[in-house]
Every structure is written in C-alpha cells, then in structure tokens.
C-alpha cells in the first residue's frame, strides 16, 4: 500500500514548529486510520460497482473455454474464431487500471492462471507486443536481439526463448500435460477446465498501432487450434473503434461480444454517497472544496480516481494545516483528545470564529469562565463535539429525505443529483434559498397522485433501511410521515363499492366546503410543514455549527492549486516575483520595481512588459544594461559596451523566446514580436 508511506514521507519533512510532538504522533495515527478506512472503502466500492460486468466477463471466459471442448457441430464451426470481449469503460482512462487489475486478479483466481495484460505504450512494434505477451504469460524473460543486457541476465536466470507463438505453444503443451490445472492452483473451480484459456488483455485499444494489432491477430488466428487464446479489448470511446482499427478480413477472425460498464457519473454518485454523505468519517469538505473537486471531475477528466485523490489531498492538508484537527476523529478518541489539549491548543479554540459566535450567545459569567477556566472549556468542548456529531448524524438522513422529495419535481429546483442539494446546503442555510421555497411551493401543489405518493413511500422505506445509522428519532419521524401520507390513501382504497364511494365523495365535498381543504390536502400540508421543520432544525449550514473548523476543510484555493495547475501563471509569477520561488532576501522588492539582483531573465521580462507589440532589441539591451550597471556601480556606458553583459542579455532573450513570450519577426529588422499581454 503506497499511500501510508507517502504520508509518512510528508510527516518526516514537515516543519513541525507549529505543533507539539504528541499531537503530531496522534495525528499521524489518525490520518493513517482515516486513510486506510477510506482506501478500503474505495476499493470495496470499486469492486462492488464493477461486480456485474466482471461477473459477466468471467462467465464469458468460462463459456468460451468450455465450448472449445465440446465437439458439437456449431462449436466446431466457430472454432476458428478467437473469442473476444469488447469492454467499454468510458473515457476516464485513469480509472481503468483498477478495473483491469481486479479483472485479471479475478480471472487468475477462478478461471485461468494465464492472464497477460498489455498497454499500447509498451508495444510500439509487433516484436515488442509479442515479447510482452510471452513474458507475461510464461513468467520468463524472452530473448530479444536488441537488448544485450537482457540476454546476459536471462542466460543466467533461465534458458532464453525466442519470441514466437510456437514457443508459447510448446510451453503450453508442457504445462497442461505436466500439471493438469484445476488440481493445483484452482482446485475450487473443479476439473471442468481441461485446458485453461490464455487471456490477453489490451488495456487501451485506441492507442494501439492498428498495423501491429492486425498482425498480432492474424498470427494468433494461425494458432487458435492449438492454443485456447482469448482477447479482452479495453475500449474508452465506443465499440465502433474496433471497426475503424481492424479491416473486415481481420475482424472476421474474432467473435466479439460487447460489455458495457457503468458510466463514470454513476460511479461518482456512489462514491460521494458512500464517502461524503455519511457521518461515518468525521473529516468533511466544505462547499467550495467540494465544488472544486466536482468541477474538476465534470469539466476536466471524469476520473473517479482523481476525485478520491483530491479528497485524500484535502485530508492531508487539513491535518497538516489545522492544529485542532486532532479532534477530528471517532467520538471516543475525540473526547479523549479534548482532555489532552494543551493551553496553546485551547487558545486556538478560543480564537475560532465559530467558537467566538458561541461565546457571544452565553451569559457574561459563562463568557468569563470560558475565557479563563481551562477545565471548564474542555468540558464545554466535549459537549460541543458531541453536538457536532449529533448534527452530522441528523444531517445526512434529512438531506436524503429532502432529496427524495424534490428530485422528481419539474425542472429540478434543488438539483437532480443529491450532490447538488448537498452543495446548496453546505453553502448557506437552505431555507433561505429561493429555490427551496419554490420547491416547497411546488410540493404543496402536488396532486394527490397515488403513484407519486407510493413511489415516495417506497423510496422513504428504502432510505430507512439504508441509513442504519439513523437515530431512532429519525425512524420515528419517518413513521409519522408515512402514516400521515398513507392514511388517506388507504381510506380511499377501501372504498370500492359504488354506494360507499358516493357517500365518501359527498362527505369529502362537504368537508371541502366547510374547511376548504380535503383531508388529503390537510395532511399533505401537515406533512410538508413537518418536513420543513425538520429541514430547518437539521439542515443548517455547517458553518453555523460551533467547532466546525475541526472537521471541515476549507481551503479551496490550495486544492485548486494542487490539482489544477496553471503552468503559465506560475511562470509569470516566477518572472515577476522571483522571491516567490527563490526565497532570497535580496530579491524582495516593492511592486513595479525592477530589482537588479534578480536573474537576468526576470529583468528582461520586466523590461519587455513596458514595450509594445514590436520590441527593438537595441533599446531593450540599453535598458537592460542600465538596470544591471546600477547594481555594480559601474558607468552605464562602459557596462553597455561590455561584451559580457550583451552575452547575458542575448541568453536571457533566447530563454524568453523558448518560454514563448516573444518570437522573431520579419516585419522589421532588429525587432522581436511580443506574444503575451496582461497578467494572467
């Protein structure tokens, strides 16, 4: 597992001046725990999501290898085709690795020990592809004419083999004859697999050279009678790429079956559901950070893996930058940690915005106590932390409840996905939002459409069963809502015969005349008011909670800077303010002043900012030597003439050209054209 070690590395080099050593070690434990919990969960999630498609793939491989042994007419006719699974995974290429990893693991566990996966970038030519396939299937070093070193090492290790499929054939025959598989390695599968198939996984089909792939398939089809080969194509775009890449004569050698995986947005929804919309993890992201992560996902890469990495980064940053993050852990540990807080940390708590707001609400005596008495403060903190936990426990079920109600409204005033609703809630108190009010109005106008009600009821029930962590209080509420909604419906259902129906209709009419509201409408309003009150009491914005700084990571700029780098801005910053990167005190200057101690390229850059579209090189050099000579206290004239300085100038200018700020032009002699305007 890579991540814990990375974290370790971070902590070794961390400037630990801010914190005490005990807190540090505690932190490390915590962060590791968090990390591992989240990582396990993600892996489990990934497997769960891919289960369907992986299962059908496994079935496919099993079926293919078993039909080979049948000798009925149909399968004989198909014997010349190579069974191929086209696995469409979507454009989020960074995520594919994990899927393929678990796929090949599963295959090795249950179907065949012979699985080789290849990537396009390691197979530029047919020879390389062949070599990789053989190496991975046979677990040996394959002889290659180009690599002399490889030959020497392989000669020592084992007898080198030539890379051709006939070698593989011989190896396979020897292997299946000597140790019938199904006994040794995969005994639990049973002995139905006399000859386990050789599965070759092409991870990124699009990137392969079509020529190489065609040749490889042609060769394989020559051996299909002797080797039970099977292909799995990982496709990122659409299955029609197979037809674009392979001519008919080649694709007719394959027996292609299509497998479609879940879309990445569904994947993300599940990850958010399990990782963020749960009180299980005390670590939280605030609205802006969530927004940054989600927009990177939607706008840039569609990669769930990068999204999780983003959360991990936020986690690390949170524990790194917020000393009070020691309290961001499981309840018991948090309560214990409160007792261990030092005076410095307590002072930090007193400085917290949310805590100050809390103090202002207390009576004067209590205020004084909070500011002076450390033990009292600790007790209060314990209480506050308990409150915060309670808040989270209630928040998520109510959020889901509201989402179920509003997700089917026309035009989705509160968003189609639960993450949108969550973002609104994180931003500010939701009931102050206009969309919320319009949604409530819409809900109040909902017809007594039995379908909608029953639909919702079933959804509520699902929710209830899902959120096992929900407090009994919440279960009670649900029961109440359910009762209030079902009762009129039930009543209506009972009235089946005509006479009774007439009677009740009359009754209802009467009641409407008298109360202007049918019992259904009354109940509906009551239920909605109840939900509204629930929302108001539990869905308040987290920023209003005391001590929210402990759990919520807020610095969206840091996350953005790390995940969505802007190379041009960094270069410009480096050229403008060299101190930012070099940290040399001599470089500290006020804005707009060209320091002569700065590197040449910075001086040249600053000077070029003052020019128009075309820059006269001679003037530029003059200005440059003026700046530089001021530093050395020489006569500018002398300096200007010195060969040394003009050489430095020319070098700086060509560096600037390399970075793309200027280019040479033919419009005027001795001029260069400026290419960028305005700071970005």
């Amino acid at each position: 597992n890579l991540w814990p070690s990375i974290f370790q590395g971070c902590f070794v080099f961390k400037p630990s001046a801010k914190k005490k050593k005990t807190a540090l070690s505690l932190d490390f434990q915590q962060i590791n725990n968090h990390q591992q919990n989240m990582f396990c969960l993600c892996k489990a999630l990934q497997d769960e999501l891919n289960r369907n498609i992986l299962d059908s793939l496994l079935d496919f491989t099993r079926k293919c290898s078993s039909t080979r042994q049948h000798s009925d007419w149909a399968s004989q006719m198909r014997a010349s085709e190579i069974p191929t699974a086209a696995l469409v995974l979507g454009v989020n290429v960074p995520d594919h690795d994990m899927t393929f990893q678990s796929l090949s693991d599963l295959l090795q566990q249950s179907v065949t020990p012979h699985v080789a996966s290849v990537q396009a970038k390691e197979c530029g030519a047919l020879k390389h592809l062949m070599k990789r396939v053989l190496e991975r299937l046979m677990d040996t070093v394959v002889d290659d004419e180009d690599e002399e070193e490889a030959e020497q090492t392989s000669a020592q290790l084992n007898k080198s083999v030539h890379c051709s499929l006939s070698t593989l054939c011989a190896w396979y025959n020897a292997k299946t004859k000597v140790s019938p598989p199904g006994k040794k390695r995969c005994s639990h599968v049973g002995d139905d697999l006399q000859s386990p198939p050789l599965v070759i996984i092409f991870k990124d089909l699009e990137a392969f050279n079509p020529r190489v792939l065609q040749d490889f398939i042609l060769i394989c089809s020559r051996y299909i009678e002797r080797l039970p080969l099977m292909f799995i194509f990982g496709i990122a775009t659409s299955p029609s790429t197979i037809q674009h890449m392979l001519p008919h004569s080649v694709s007719s050698l394959l027996c292609i079956e299509l497998f479609q995986s879940l879309s990445c947005t569904q994947h993300l929804a599940t990850v958010i559901d399990k990782l963020i919309l749960t009180p299980q993890f005390p670590f939280k992201l605030n609205g802006k950070v969530m927004q940054v992560l989600i927009s990177i996902f939607l706008y840039h890469d569609f990669s769930v893996r990068n999204f999780i990495k983003g959360i991990q980064l936020a986690l690390l940053e949170h524990f790194h930058s917020q000393p009070l993050s020691v309290l961001c852990c499981k309840k018991k540990a948090a309560l214990l940690n409160v007792m261990h807080l030092g005076p410095q940390d307590l002072e930090r708590i007193r400085q917290l915005q949310s805590f100050k707001r809390y103090v202002e609400k207390q009576d004067p005596q209590e205020q004084v106590n909070l500011f002076t008495d450390d033990t009292h403060l600790k007790e209060v903190c314990q209480k506050l932390i308990k409150n915060l936990r309670q808040y989270h426990k209630n928040y998520y079920p109510i959020l889901r409840c509201l989402h179920t109600l509003t997700s089917s409204l026309p035009r989705y005033p509160l968003g189609k996905q639960i993450r949108e609703l969550h973002l609104i809630c994180l931003d500010k108190n939701i009931w102050e939002n206009e969309d919320y009010q319009s949604a409530m109005k819409l809900l109040k106008m909902l017809a007594k459409d039995q379908l909608i009600l029953e639909d919702m009821l079933s959804k509520f029930k699902q929710l209830d069963s899902k959120s096992d962590s929900s407090t009994p209080y919440f279960a009670f509420t649900l029961g109440y809502v359910e009762d209030s909604i079902t009762s009129p419906v039930k009543n209506l259902q009972k009235k089946t015969d005509l006479f009774q129906l007439q009677k009740t209709l009359l009754e209802m009419n009467e009641s409407r005349r008298s109360k202007k509201l049918s019992p259904f409408e009354a109940l509906r309003n009551e239920a909605l008011e109840f939900i509204d009150s629930l929302v108001k009491s539990h869905l308040s914005a987290p920023e209003s909670q005391t001590l929210n700084e402990v759990c919520y990571y807020t610095s969206s700029a840091t996350v953005r800077r790390h995940l969505n780098a802007t190379p041009r801005t960094s270069i410009q910053a480096a050229l403008n303010i060299p101190y930012y990167y070099l940290q040399n005190d001599r470089l500290k200057t006020e804005d707009g002043i060209v320091s002569n101690a700065a590197p040449d390229i910075c001086i040249v850059y600053k000077l070029h900012l003052e020019c128009g579209r075309l820059i006269n090189l001679y003037d530029w050099l003059e200005a440059y030597s003026t700046v530089v000579s001021a530093a050395e206290g020489n006569d500018p004239e002398l300096m200007f003439l010195s060969l040394f300085s003009s050489a430095r100038f020319i070098r700086a200018v060509s560096e600037l050209e390399f970075l793309g700020f200027i280019k040479s032009t033919k419009q005027k002699t001795d001029h260069v054209a400026r290419l960028t305007w305005g700071g970005c």
Binding site: V91, K127, M130, H162, A207, R222, I256, L298, T569
Partner: protein, 444 residues
Amino acid sequence: MSSLLQHPGHEEESLQRVSDQLPCREVQAGTLLSLMGQPHQYSYPSIFIYGHRSSGKSHVLHVLLKELELPHAPVSCVECVSVALLFEQVLLSFFGADAASLLPRSPSLSDFVRVYRNQCSQSPAEQTRYIVMEKAELLRDADANLLPALLRLQELVEDNVTVILLSEIVWDKFRPNTGCFEPLLLHFPDYSKGELQHILSHDRHPSYSAEFYSSYINILLGVFYSVCRDLRELRHLPHAMNVAFTCFCVSSVKETDTHKLWRNMEPHLKKAMQTVYLREVSSLQWEKMQQMEEKESGALRGLSAHTHVELPYYSKFLLIAAYLASYNPARTDKRFFLKHHGKIRKTNFLKKNEKTSNHLLGPKPFPLDRLLAIFYSVVDSRVAPTASIFSQISSLVTLQLLTQVSHDDQLDAPKYKCAVSMDFICAISRTVNFEIVNYLYDFL
C-alpha cells in the same frame, strides 16, 4: 475424379484422400503434383502461387504435403517479424531443434546458408524438401537480398529444396529492380457459384440429408452471393443462421419442400446480411438473439450502433473547437469569432479553388494556438489555461478523436487534425447547446 490425381510417385490411397479433401481444386492440385515430380526427383527451385483471399492456396498445399508425407516447413511471413525467426523455423522443421540453435544471434542470410549446408551434408535430402511461405507479399518489405536468395535457394544450399511462395498479389509487383530468378507462376482462380455451393454443402449438420442441406445452401448463396464471394465469410454464415434453420426444420414435416424453405428463411437471411455478415454482431450473440426473438426483437444492437461517447465538459468544447479549426479556412475565423466583424458575405471571401465543400476535402491540420484561440471563444465561461486543459488535448489524441499531424518530438507548435465525423460532432454540440452549424463555413 480421382483420375485427375494420378501420379507415379505416390500411393493410390493417399492420393484418393487428398482429392477428397480438395473439392473443386483438383486441377490445381494435379498441376502442383506434376511440378513436384516424384519425391526423390529434383523439383523446380521456386514456385509462385497467387490468387485471391480464400481461393484455397494454403489449404491445397497443406493437404498435399501432409497427406503425401513430404518434408516441408510452413512459414507465415506475418509471424516472422525478423529474418531470424524465418531461418529458425525452416531449420527447426527440417533438421530439428539442434540445428536451429546453431544459428548465431541476429543471423545473416549467409549464416543461414552455412548452417543449412552443414546440416544437409550430414543428412542429405532423400525427398524434395519444401518451404511454404504464406503471405509472401511481406517479403518485399524485408531485406533486399532475401527474396532473390530464397528464389534460388536450391543452388545456394545445393540441396533438393523447393520454395513455394503464396501471395494475393501478382508476381509483377514482386520483381526486384535488380532482377532475379523467375519462379514458376501458378494461378488459383476464384471459386464459381456452383463450386461454392459444392464446398459449403460439405460441412453440413449431421442431422440433415445432403440434398436438403444443399438446397438450403443454394438459397443462402442466392442472397449473399451478390455481396460476398469470400468462401471463408460464406462458411461463417450457415451456422450463424443455424437456429432459424433448425426452427424451420423442426416445424416443417417434409424436407423436400424447398419453396417453403425459401419463404421461411428469406427474412432471416436479409436481416443477417446487415448484422452477421458485417460482423456487427458476433455469431454467438446472433444465435442468442435468434433464440429469444419471440420475446423481443431488435434488442441487440451492432457494434457501430454504439457511437455515443461521453466526454468531460471542456473536452467537448475542445473537440468542437478542433472540428471548427479543421473544417473552416483560417481566414474566416475573424468572421465567426470576432464580435464586430462587420458584414462579410460568403461570396466576398470565396476563392476560386474553394468552391468545393471543405467536408468533401476532409479535415485540415491546424496549430495548437488556433485550437486554443477558438476554444476560448466558443466556451461560454472564462477558463483558466490550466494544465488539465492541455492534458485533455493529449488524451483526446490517445482516444483517436484528434490526431497529431506533426511528429511527436516536435514540442514547439504541434499540429493536429480532428478525426471525428459530422454526425458525432453534432451530437456532442447538442449536449452542450452549441449550434455548430452556425459556425461552419460550409453551411453559411
């Protein structure tokens, strides 16, 4: 029939077996046999056989050499990525693994000849040895001296060896400009319709009578012969259609009623022409579909039906920008992307040679700068030029939606082409509410 394959050097029985396995290729087999002569006789040094795909070239040779038990080395030129593999395979099948291991690393042709002569002095040929090179057209890309040397290998190694080259291309395209030994040319003509029917009837399902199956094949050929004459493809069809066929056979009583057979099978065949023949659907899936056809039809879509690709938001705009850059002349960018461009009519900047539609000419390369400039003007919000925008361009290249025209090594101002179709880009721009047609020069 067997009279065609009479030859003094071989046993009657094995000749009979050969002719059984080679329907409709007796003439060619006979010619080959007489060329080969009796096993101990020297044969012609090199024979060049050409004919279209699946006209039975390799099959005839394979059966002949195998059934008559002649020493031969079958080599596929696709497989031989290096000459070393070719030499090794030849030596391996003639003299065994020991000889093959005598070859040095990256052997030259003379190494091969040396080893061969060494070996054949130890075990001289009692019968003619044959080297069969499949897909010989690939030899043209190999070293210049390989093909001429193979053609007169008999002289070089002083052994009774014959090289047989199989190719889909005529010999004229092979002849090196330095001249070489002319091999004996032999042509395998395409199968006629009658011959196809005869061959296809051979692999009939054991439960039907030969006559009935033959009439079924006749119907099948009637539908498909106009679009496909490739035997290999046609052989794939009858068993793909098997389910429908068996259904029919179960229901009908009489096997002789060919008219009824035609009426029942034709719709299935027509449907299969669109999917199975083009391998849109694998034969396995087709069979499954046929079985559950009663429940729901049209549930299964072919490979090309799945063209929808989901892309991140900015990737969509990058792709749109790339499409615009590829299909609009650079001069017209001002007209499309500047706010106050004034009124420029199409006729005003129409040049003479530009009357043909850009869409007919295909995508044109464009530099990265232009792509980004168009991108920033089409995307509605202000986008920071982050690294992930650039990495999206390269991932579009890996997905083959863009292609890089300039060389990989060229870091400065790389050039790209947009590789997606009009339909695809229209679908993409619809999802982001972008009217691409308004921005295309061709549709002005």
